[in-house]
């Protein structure tokens, strides 16, 4: 059937099997149908008795659960912390995959940053890379704006990211919700592996505080502001120069033809 044609009541509908509500609903409590449901064909007395029986059957269900304390499903949360295990795919906190030496594989390709629907990932590169061309400085993940859509994890070509089940992420300060996920700023694992000298390796790796995300974001904002300020200054300087040039042109209406080459 085409999408835009909705069947009208009289029309035949191409629906092969249809279940209509039964004339008499068969259940535990008995049947109650008709305009005055529990007073139908069985008459008033029969209807009343069936009605009462239905009430008792409901009471039987509830008391059944009361009598069996094993049916309790409540999980008492802080008490069951030791036994509480979340499934391995559970999306609670984004984490970086560091190998057993503590190296990561993030090449700063920024695919995750682009894929993130709500700018929860902010990646900054190092100003002066120690070894390779591009080195990760901070991989900041903002839990406060993350929607746990898992896109960053699946798009990462190197398998750097994962979601883990550490769900107790409440803090008292909103700024603490911006995490720096990488443990160090520096080159990727493959570059570090090639380095022979452990001292140089150590020098190339600059440790990062997991809670420094807010500072990184603040620095970025400052930088943006500074860029804006310098851009504005440049614009204003240009404008002033334009005005000055115009004024100069107005002051000297008879411009000598050779001055054109200077302008």
């Amino acid at each position: 059937m085409p999408a835009d044609s909705v069947p009208m009541p009289g029309e035949s509908i191409e629906t092969p099997t249809v279940v209509a509500p039964p004339e008499k609903h068969v259940g535990v409590g008995g049947a109650m149908t008709g305009a005055v449901p529990w007073i139908d064909k069985a008459g008033v007395v029969g209807g009343v008795f069936r009605g009462i029986r239905s009430l008792f059957s409901g009471m039987g269900v509830t008391v059944g659960y009361l009598m069996r304390p094993s049916t309790v499903v409540t999980q008492e949360y802080p008490e069951n912390r030791e036994t509480l295990k979340l499934p391995d795919r559970f999306r609670a906190q984004l984490a970086f995959n560091h190998d057993d030496k503590g190296y990561h594989k993030c090449t700063m390709c920024r695919i995750c940053e682009e894929a993130c629907p709500n700018v929860s990932i902010i990646i900054t590169g190092r100003e002066k890379p120690a070894v390779s061309k591009k080195e990760l400085d901070s991989f900041v993940w903002r839990l406060d704006s993350c929607t746990f859509c898992n896109t960053c994890v699946i798009v990462c070509p190197f398998g750097v990211l994962r979601f883990d089940g550490t769900f107790e992420s409440s803090v008292y300060d909103r700024r603490l919700l911006s995490y720096t996920l990488n443990r160090y700023a520096g080159p990727v694992a493959s570059v570090l592996e090639k380095m022979e000298d452990p001292e140089a390796r150590k020098a190339a790796m600059d440790p990062r505080d997991p809670y420094s995300g807010a500072a990184v974001i603040a620095a970025l904002i400052e930088k943006q502001k500074a860029t804006k300020v310098s851009q504005r200054a440049a614009r204003e300087a240009a404008r002033a120069a334009r005005i000055a040039a115009k004024a100069a042109a107005a002051a000297a209406p008879a411009t000598p033809p050779e001055a054109k080459d200077v302008g």
Binding site: P9, T15, A20, P21, G29, I52, V61, R89, N150
Partner: protein, 386 residues
């Protein structure tokens, strides 16, 4: 917003509706945006005459987040996770709706396995959604216990999702080109265990709620919605089917692997609250049937056809696709200018249309009926406002 209210006030000052010799005075009550029975921040302006409801006007916009507009600022993959937040009880179906239109427009290939997994998780989520509805329906009618029983069973489905998908509510699982992960190794075992657990519980639900004389008294014959009016108002899903229109996209335009499955479409007769209740209860049983057929027959194959980071470009033009969520037809209209980001996305959400049936149903009913009717429509407010 104020337009609605002033219209109502103009209407009441214009006419005297008190028909009885005892002079009564009509009054307005704001039901919501904070009310236990509107299930979210929905506001209903009620015109009441004592306990009798004279008019209901829904006022929307309290949870408008501009999801459609936000979709224009990202690529198609990024839009998928936003629709999780529309009808949060059918997040997977919402994912699938967007995925479907993108796949159809961009002519992306999928495997049988992908379709089977999508169908399976969507049916599981349909059960989950109906279980929550069942519990809330009981609670709205004044019985607290069904709520806990419904949520208890729903929890098991959430646990299954947690294992395979890693999330309980906002899944972002069905992606253009596949599904985000393959199913968990324990998925089949868990689903089978759940199905065998759920079946006796459904019988118990009948004993506790369905057959209960008070429930029967309260929901039979109230909130009638004729088939003509249901179609005119654009109602879909169980609301439409309860009114006697056998319109189910899973049958009429099968997507996924529904065409291979054997299931019935429950259809009501009178379109009253009882029919809507019954249709949903029966849909749960049908979903169980579908899952039973599917769970042992998931074909082998790939679960992701393209690279997850690959850019999707949809050819310029208007594309539309729709599917059946737990609440009705979710259609996604996509206007593309051939770039990576959609030019415009519009979602035809089932709850928006279903909500307007409340005005039709509730007029002349009682205050308590209104709650039952609202609950029987099974609205999810974020889906109305988007």
């Amino acid at each position: 917003m104020s337009v609605h209210v002033s219209t109502l006030q103009a209407r009441i000052s214009g006419e005297s509706t008190a028909s009885s010799p005892l002079s009564t005075e009509e009054y307005f009550v704001n039901m919501g945006p904070q009310h236990p029975s509107t299930h979210g921040v929905l506001r209903l302006v009620l015109r009441l005459d004592g306990e009798t409801v004279r008019e209901v006007v829904p006022v929307l916009g309290y949870i408008h987040r501009g999801i459609e507009k936000m979709g224009e600022h990202g690529n198609y993959r990024q839009f998928v996770h936003l629709v999780d937040r529309m009808d949060y009880l059918s997040a997977l179906a919402n994912n699938w709706a967007v995925t479907m239109v993108v796949e159809k427009a961009a002519k992306m290939e999928t495997t049988e396995r992908i379709q089977a997994i999508r169908t399976l998780v969507c049916e599981l989520q349909r059960i989950q959604s109906h279980l929550l509805w069942w519990g809330v329906f009981g609670m709205d009618l004044g019985g607290f216990t069904p709520f806990f029983y419904g949520l208890r069973e729903r929890e098991q489905i959430c646990d299954i999702f947690e294992k395979t998908i890693g999330a309980r509510l906002t899944m972002n699982y069905i992606q253009p080109g596949g599904v985000m992960f393959d199913i968990h190794p324990e998925f089949v075992k868990d689903v089978k265990a759940f199905i065998s657990y759920l079946k006796p519980k459904l019988v118990e639900y009948d004993a506790l709620v369905t057959d209960n004389v008070i429930i029967q008294e309260r929901i039979r014959g109230i909130g009638k919605l004729s088939a003509e009016r249901a179609i005119a108002l654009g109602a879909t899903g169980p609301v439409l089917r309860a009114s006697g229109v056998a319109h189910d996209l899973r049958k009429s335009e099968p997507y996924g692997v529904y065409s291979q499955l054997d299931f019935d479409v429950p259809v009501g007769k009178d379109g009253d609250c009882w029919d809507r209740y019954w249709v949903r209860m029966e849909e749960m049983r049908q979903s169980v049937r579908m899952i039973e057929q599917l769970i042992d027959n998931i074909p082998e194959g790939k679960t992701f056809m393209v690279k997850p980071a690959a850019k999707i470009k949809v050819p310029a033009g208007v594309h539309y696709s729709h599917l059946e969520t737990a609440r009705g037809i979710l259609g996604v209209l996509l206007v593309s200018d051939g770039k990576e980001a959609p030019y415009r996305i519009h979602c035809r959400t089932p709850n928006f249309n279903n909500l307007w049936c409340i005005g039709e149903m509730a007029t002349g009913g009682r205050m308590g009926d209104l709650v039952a009717m609202l609950s029987s429509i099974d609205i999810v407010v974020p889906d109305i406002d988007r």
